[in-house]
């Protein structure tokens, strides 16, 4: 189809699509008038029954924990998928370079200010990430959010110009193993619930007192596993992309 024919097809289709969506949404209660009975029950029972004050976390890891296992495995498979899709092909090679710029790549130099600032931020970022992962059951945050913050510390290192040094310190197999460990830890904790109380993902660890760091039973441990997995997966993602851009060159040169 030529582009013009496509536009002739698309314009009425999109108009119809928009119209149908809006028409369907008129059946919704207005935003702000939500009446869900399930949500109300959950909001009422989360703290008394699970001793965790962050209800969203409780929903994510307890009421609907099985969804989160699936979601974590999606992240895991995508990291594996990236390894498959971005791997070295026949006809390519990984360059060994001494400085941070691969041959033929015209990257602008990094300013001193950026280097110092980025390096200085790495430590606080990691600390912030760990804090958010650990307090997932109490305040907004948790394994996903904290894991991503942890992974951005790698980007800060890249900005500071020390990428190749970092590359030698964190080989990809170690990250793959760490990420897989996080993923399997979640599944195994669920299995623990199966063994201890006969139901998969049952919250079988003593619940502790609300508002303390170990409250919520399995919830803080699940979020630790997720934090490990998310940090590993995103670091792997960044490494794969940065390798492709900075290091992989075709064998014919340039």
């Amino acid at each position: 189809m030529s582009r013009r024919a496509r536009l002739w097809l698309l314009a009425p289709a999109l108009a119809g699509f928009l119209g149908l969506l809006v028409w369907g949404m008129t059946g919704l209660p207005g935003s702000g008038d939500h009446q869900g009975a399930v949500a109300a029950t959950i909001a009422r029972t989360a703290v008394p029954e699970r001793h965790a004050t962050n209800v969203v976390t409780t929903v994510t890891l307890d009421y609907r924990g099985f969804d989160t296992l699936g979601e974590e495995m999606i992240l895991f498979s995508a990291a594996l998928g990236l390894v498959v899709l971005l791997r070295e092909q026949r006809g390519e090679r990984k360059e060994e370079v001494d400085d941070d710029r691969a041959a033929g790549r015209k990257a602008p130099g990094t300013s001193e200010g950026l280097r110092i600032f980025s390096l200085a931020l790495v430590g606080p970022t990691v600390l912030l990430g760990l804090y958010i992962v650990a307090h997932g059951a109490l305040t907004p945050g948790g394994g996903f959010q904290g894991g991503v913050i942890l992974a951005t510390s790698l980007l800060l290192v890249y900005l500071s110009g020390k990428y190749l040094a970092l590359r030698e310190l964190t080989p990809i197999p170690a990250l793959e193993a760490g990420e897989a460990l996080g993923a399997v830890a979640f599944a195994l904790i669920g299995l623990g619930g199966l063994i201890a109380s006969g139901v998969y993902l049952h919250n079988f660890i003593p619940l502790g007192t609300p508002k303390t760091i170990l409250s919520g039973g399995t919830i803080p441990f699940l979020y630790l596993a997720i934090g490990l997995e998310v940090a590993g997966a995103f670091m792997l993602t960044f490494l794969e992309f940065l390798d492709q851009t900075l290091l992989v060159r075709s064998r014919s040169g340039g």
Binding site: M1, A13, G16, L20, G24, D62, R64, G65, E71, V84
Partner: protein
């Protein structure tokens, strides 16, 4: 028995993570062993769940419903879902066995991805919660994208995977929008509870649009016309073991989802207008069955031919489901499994040709297969099974659907079934005649299409041999035998009918899931055995296949009617076109549903 339910998903996931973690230092033997053990155990566990009969409800985290409100996620294991799970795991076992020989540069990551794919399919078939189904749907898709793009060093897989990923992501977004609308109305994510809540008010715009969005989104995965354009691109470039699983199971799961959601959620509120829904879906199924069947016949690249055949059969399964009766559903279930086995066997056959002769193109392979009698037999038997030769399982399923169609007043779909099976079976017969007997005219593969044909047909292994290894041939033979067995096992049709009758019982389903009522399988009289008319129809399909193949072999290559040429041009490989057709499809279904259901 209850403990088995979560294990069917947890075991392959844990095995996949172990394989990924040990990838740098584990041997190929270890990976093969672990993955086969995991997939085999899932097959055994799902088989046990299937044999259990009745509905099993499993609440994760121990969150049982309170006052009829479902707080947690439930798996509702019905015989139809468990049957699909067993079938999916069996296909993955076959794919693992087959991949040991057919893919050279395989490593643990491939096995891990295949196991994750399996876990997602099993979870999808067993889940009773709509958002949980969405999560497994996305997990299936992500693993499928990675597996399809495995030979990323070539251009065709790259484009195929892109088209696959982009269109299916839009499908997922449609599903999610539908889920949000339903949640806004009902406040629930559990299928049974949604059904209860929707049933309290008459149908309105929201119900119709959420049905449209869910149906359209899942039809993208199932590749119903006009959402199907991505499938030939993707299935013709995926590694052959992956094609086995994709073609036999993944597309069919899209239809299963629509069936599940229809009977659990919408049958109550829209039941009065069933006739309209039947008509629309039968129409969609007919278009999906016939157009791609013609295109299948016009193909000379074997994998692309089988991909179009897959779409055509999805159309036939859709017709069977669209009758919205237990008999039609039972016939569809049997037809689906039997046909899946045959398609998988044919894909394995193509893999054998690629392994020995370095190509999958009919014209390029003309006459080169003369020294491969067993593979030839494989293709011929497979083609006849596609054309529903008795006593294959395909014949049994098809005759059940035909009987159900006549009872529902849709007798004319029999002609659609005959035409589609004749075209697809005839295409494979023609290919077999050309490759193994050297019949038919010679011709160059079309240069204007498929520019990189040589690249995309590179062998997937590095060592072609003179003999077909047993590891490649045996899975195909087993699959064909399984398809035959399905037609011969006594009482299978009766069991399928009972399972279907329980599946369509929306009120009973809600009672079992939300109130813990014991599930009871309704007593149904066994279906009558195939009648003489059914044999006649099957005979017509088989004769039609032979005639079409013979006619094609006698005429010069590549002479197509202009209409067929235009249809082929539509499948342009450009994702922008596909997205435009997708949008049109959503509007078409939405408009039809709106006009007929309100």
């Amino acid at each position: 028995m209850n403990t088995l339910v979560p294990l069917t998903v947890a075991v392959p996931l844990i095995a996949a993570t172990v394989l990924a973690a040990s990838a740098p230092f584990a041997s190929r033997r270890f990976a093969d062993g672990v993955s086969l053990a995991a997939a085999g155990s899932v097959c055994a566990m799902s088989g046990l769940l299937l044999a259990h009969g009745g509905d099993l409800v499993y609440w994760f985290g121990g969150w049982h419903p309170r006052h009829g409100l479902a707080l947690g996620i439930a798996f509702t294991v019905a015989p139809l879902g468990a049957g699909l799970a067993t079938f999916a795991s069996a296909m993955v076992v076959i794919a693992l066995l087959f991949s040991q020989r057919s893919l050279a540069e395989i490593n643990n990551v491939f096995h891990a991805l295949l196991l994750v794919f399996l876990a997602a399919m099993v979870g999808f078939s067993l889940s009773g919660d709509i958002f949980n189904m969405f999560v497994f749907f996305e997990l299936m898709s992500v693993a499928a994208y990675a597996l399809t793009g495995y030979r990323i060093d070539q251009r065709a897989p790259l484009e195929g995977t892109l088209n696959f990923a982009i269109t299916n992501s839009i499908g997922a977004l449609l599903v999610l929008t539908g889920i949000s609308l339903l949640y806004g109305r009902t406040g629930a994510l559990n299928l049974a509870q949604i059904g209860q809540a929707l049933g309290t008010r008459p149908a309105d715009a929201l119900v119709v649009i959420s049905l449209t969005l869910l149906v359209a989104g899942f039809f993208v995965k199932a590749a119903v016309v006009p959402f199907h354009f991505w499938l030939p691109d993707a299935y013709s470039v995926a590694p052959t073991p992956v094609c086995v699983v994709l073609s036999a199971v993944m597309s069919e799961l899209g239809l299963y989802a629509v069936a599940r959601i229809w009977w659990a959620c919408f049958a109550g509120v829209l039941g009065g207008d069933r006739g309209a829904v039947e008509a629309i879906l039968v129409g969609a199924g007919t278009v999906t069955a016939l157009g791609p069947a013609v295109l299948c016949f016009a193909q000379t690249h074997l994998k692309r031919m089988l991909a179009y055949a897959t779409v055509s059969y999805i159309g036939l399964f859709l017709i069977g489901f669209a009758l919205l009766t237990p008999d039609g559903l039972a016939g569809t279930a049997i037809y689906l499994v039997a046909d899946g086995c045959v398609k998988a066997a044919l894909f394995v056959g193509v893999g054998i040709l690629q392994h020995r002769l370095w190509s999958a193109d009919e014209l390029r392979l003309r006459g080169k297969g003369r020294a491969m009698p067993y593979t030839a037999a494989l293709f011929v038997v497979g083609a006849l099974a596609l054309a529903s030769l008795p006593p294959f399982g395909t014949f049994l399923g098809k005759s059940m659907i035909e009987d159900a169609a006549v009872k529902a007043g849709y007798g004319w779909v029999i002609a659609v079934f005959i035409l589609a099976s004749a075209l697809t079976g005839g295409a494979v017969l023609r290919a077999a005649g050309r490759v193994f007997l050297g019949l038919g005219g010679a011709g160059e593969p079309e240069p204007s299409f498929e520019i990189d044909r040589e690249e995309s047909d590179e062998p997937e292994t590095d060592d072609p041999r003179d003999r077909t290894p047993a590891m490649l041939f045996v899975p195909a033979a087993v699959l064909l035998a399984a398809s035959l067995a399905l037609g011969l096992v006594p009482g299978l049709d009766h069991a399928a009918q009972r399972a279907a009758a329980a599946f369509v019982d929306s009120a009973g389903y809600a009672a079992t899931v939300l109130h813990g009522a014991a599930s009871h399988t309704p007593q149904v009289a066994g279906p009558p055995p195939p009648t003489a008319l059914d044999y006649l129809y099957a005979l017509l399909s088989v004769l039609g296949a032979f005639t079409l193949a013979a006619v094609a072999l006698l005429r010069p290559v590549r002479v197509f009617a202009p209409a067929v040429m235009r249809l082929r041009m539509l499948h342009s490989g450009r994702v922008g076109d596909y997205v435009a057709w997708l949008t049109l499809g959503v509007v078409a279904f939405g408009g039809l549903f709106a006009v007929t259901l309100l």
